[in-house]
Structure formats: C-alpha cells, structure tokens
Symmetry: C2
Subunit: 128 residues, 2 copies
C-alpha cells in the first residue's frame, strides 16, 4: 500500500487526521500521554468537554487503535484509558505542537494586537 495523502478527501488518511486533530481528540491524546486515566479523571483534566463528546472521542480513538480501553470486572465497573504504542507515537507529535503553542502564546497575542490595531487605523483614519 502507498502512503496516505491527507489532501485527498477520498484518502482514508484524511478522516484519521481529522480524528487526531479534532477539538477533543488532540486534548485526549495529550492528556493520556503521561498517565492512564479513568473517564471521570479525563473529564476533569479536559475542561469544557461534555460527557457525550468525550465518550464519542474515546470510541473513535479506540477504533483507530490509538487508545486502549481496559474494563476491570468489578462492581461498580472500573474502566481505564491509556495510549497504545501507536497512540504514544502520534501523541508525541501532538505534544511537540502543544509545546510550541504554549511557548509562543505571548508572540501570537502580540501579532493579534498588531493586526487589530492596523484594521482599526484603516477603518478609523485620523483626520488630517
């Protein structure tokens, strides 16, 4: 098989890219990079995610072979989520991206301020 091509909407790599970079997918992969977590702990770590969206995201990533779901036969049920070997690899790429973003937030905010200031000057020119 050839390598995938994420630019091709007909290539199966495109939906995989969309799962990995989805709003909650990136955060789940990154959150599980350092530790195995139960559903409730994952939900606390990823602020803003609904129970439904977290469930869907975990199922998608489990189906892709990136997340491992371990059910312990106890009462009440105990379910733990961790990364597979493939999940660790892709989460490593996500971590590099997050490190860049977290380290460059100040520079991006400065760029936003310059952009907004330039737009403002165009729409509100100083009378001469």
């Amino acid at each position: 098989m050839q390598n995938g091509d994420v630019y091709d909407t007909g290539c199966p790599s495109r939906p995989i890219m969309e799962h990995v970079t989805s709003r909650w997918g990136v955060l789940v992969l990154h959150a599980l990079r350092s530790e195995t977590l139960r559903f409730s702990a994952l939900r606390r770590k990823i602020t803003g995610v609904s129970e439904k969206m977290l469930t869907q995201t975990l199922q998608t990533l489990e189906r892709d072979g990136l997340v491992h779901r371990e059910v312990f036969p106890v009462i009440p049920p105990h379910v733990e989520y961790s990364l597979t070997r493939m999940g660790e690899e892709v989460a490593g790429c996500v971590a590099t991206l997050f490190t860049w973003i977290e380290g460059n937030t100040e520079a991006v905010l400065a760029a936003q301020a310059r952009y907004d200031d330039a737009k403002h000057r165009v729409s509100h020119p100083v009378a001469t």
Copy 2:
C-alpha cells in the same frame, strides 16, 4: 508571562491551538510550508474547502501572525499567501504529525477492521 496551558479554557493558548488544529487550519499551514500560493492555487490544493471557509481560515492565521498576506498593486489584484517565521515553526510540527498519519494509515485501518469485527461478534454471536 507564563507559558500557556491549552487545557485551561480561559487561557489564550486554547483558541490558538484551536486555530492551528482546525479542519482547514492544519491543511493551510501544511500547504504553505513548501511554497507561496495565491488564493485560487491554495483552494485547488486543499480539496473540499469552500471559498468562505478558506478566507476565514487565512484571516485567522494572518491575525495570529502565522500567515503573511502580500497584496500586489496590479489590476486585477494579485494576492499571495506565505508562512511567517512563526508559521514555519508551527507548520513544522504539523508536518511531523501528517508524516506519521500518512505513514501509519494502513495500521490504523487494520485496527479499525479489528474493532468493527469484535463489535460485530458481540452483537451477532455464533450459536453453539
């Protein structure tokens, strides 16, 4: 200023992360990594994107200081898009992620088939 924290919905790094990993944002950053492109050429490269969504995505990334928009004063107007230095850095992280996905598409498809097969066997058990 401290580093950002993408897990914190109140941190400005979170929307930046969402711009970079957005459905079209990742593809625009990656498409501009190797070349400067006009709007029409970008749209041809990123199959499936609408004119409106590509315009919005480019504006967001320009405001974040990741994409540079150069307008040439000719008739008809000629506009070119390229990456800034910051854009090149973040696009490098995206490229690593895409390379992993494109190189592991076959393994992910195999995982999906195993998952679907296991689900099918649970819902359609063989009579014994």
